[in-house]
């Protein structure tokens, strides 16, 4: 065997190790579409309730008295989540088909499980915060837990997710001190950051 063959062997080994342990079909377009959905969701709240985005105290859902607002917010968030998931799955499935990799295999299941453990914990914790009338901290909680979920999931997919997770955590911590700017932080965290990272990943791996 000559050097070239040895090098090729090393490359093959590397690719096998990556392919077998990480879910590599995650598409940058999934991130972009999720970000766009989040932006639309936040804009809907701002426009429908006529809330100034850059002014303090624009989230009155600390108290249960604002029931129509809470109902709107919950339905809005649910619609954002569903449409973001559907679009993400679509683009990731498309990338997997292009790569000739299986879409639903053990690496995908491992990714989902590790993503959802911190995510579900964060969801339940957010509900507890609401229950104790501390709703102003919900934006911070959702961002921090989402960041930790991404950090955890990054071990099972493209490394880039790790940086996105850290960015979400930092943003969440800021928002914990700047209570009352929740919609703005959601717009940046779930909207803008997703679009930026999705774009970076798209140009890095799919162009």
């Amino acid at each position: 065997m000559n050097d070239k063959e040895h090098l090729q062997t090393l490359t093959e080994i590397r690719s096998l190790m990556e392919k077998s342990s990480r879910f590599l079909s995650l598409s940058g377009l999934s991130g972009i579409s999720a970000g766009v959905c989040a932006c639309v969701g936040v804009m809907a709240v701002i426009i429908y309730w006529d809330i100034p985005l850059f002014e303090h105290d624009h989230l009155p859902f600390v108290e249960l008295d604002y029931f129509p607002f809470i109902k709107f917010l919950v339905i809005d968030a649910f619609l954002v989540l569903v449409s973001a998931l559907v679009l993400s799955i679509y683009f990731t499935k498309r990338k997997a088909q292009k790569q000739g990799l299986p879409f639903w295999d053990k690496s995908a299941i491992r990714l989902i499980i590790n993503l959802f453990i911190p995510l579900v914990a964060g969801g339940v914790f957010s509900f507890a915060i609401f229950y104790h009338h501390l709703g102003g901290l919900i934006p911070a909680t959702t961002l921090i837990f989402y960041g930790m979920a991404l950090l955890n999931a990054s071990k099972y997919t493209l490394h880039d997710i790790r940086a996105l997770g850290i960015a979400e955590i930092i943003l969440g911590l800021f928002s914990a001190f700047l209570v009352g700017y929740g919609l703005l932080f959601w717009l940046i965290g779930f909207g803008v950051l997703h679009i930026i990272y999705g774009g970076i990943m798209y140009f890095k791996y799919e162009k």
Partner: protein
């Protein structure tokens, strides 16, 4: 040069065996079908390579039932991991020279 080549493990001369080991290094447990899909080889080919790795005790086999279906999973032994590590080092040294 001869010393360097001596460090290459005979068990890993085959691409398939080296591939099996690479997959088992980063996954705790892998079943037969997964290996087959990842390496893109036939049943018989894979089975014979796995037997050889098992014979040199680089790979441990465990058989169990999932429902009524038999399911065979493979793990790398400590010995196998060390051997793989040394083999990669030997290749790297070859490239350096």
């Amino acid at each position: 040069m001869k010393d360097l080549l001596d460090n290459l493990d005979k068990a890993f001369e085959s691409r398939v065996r080296l591939g099996i080991m690479a997959i088992l290094m980063v996954n705790e447990q892998v079943d037969f079908t997964q290996l087959k899909e990842l390496l893109d080889v036939t049943d018989g080919n894979l089975a014979s390579h796995l037997k050889q790795l098992e014979a040199s005790s680089y790979v441990a086999v465990s058989k169990q039932f999932v429902g009524r279906k038999p399911n065979t999973t493979y793990t790398a032994t400590a010995e196998g991991k060390l051997a793989f590590h040394n083999h990669l080092k030997a290749i790297e040294n070859l490239l350096k020279n």
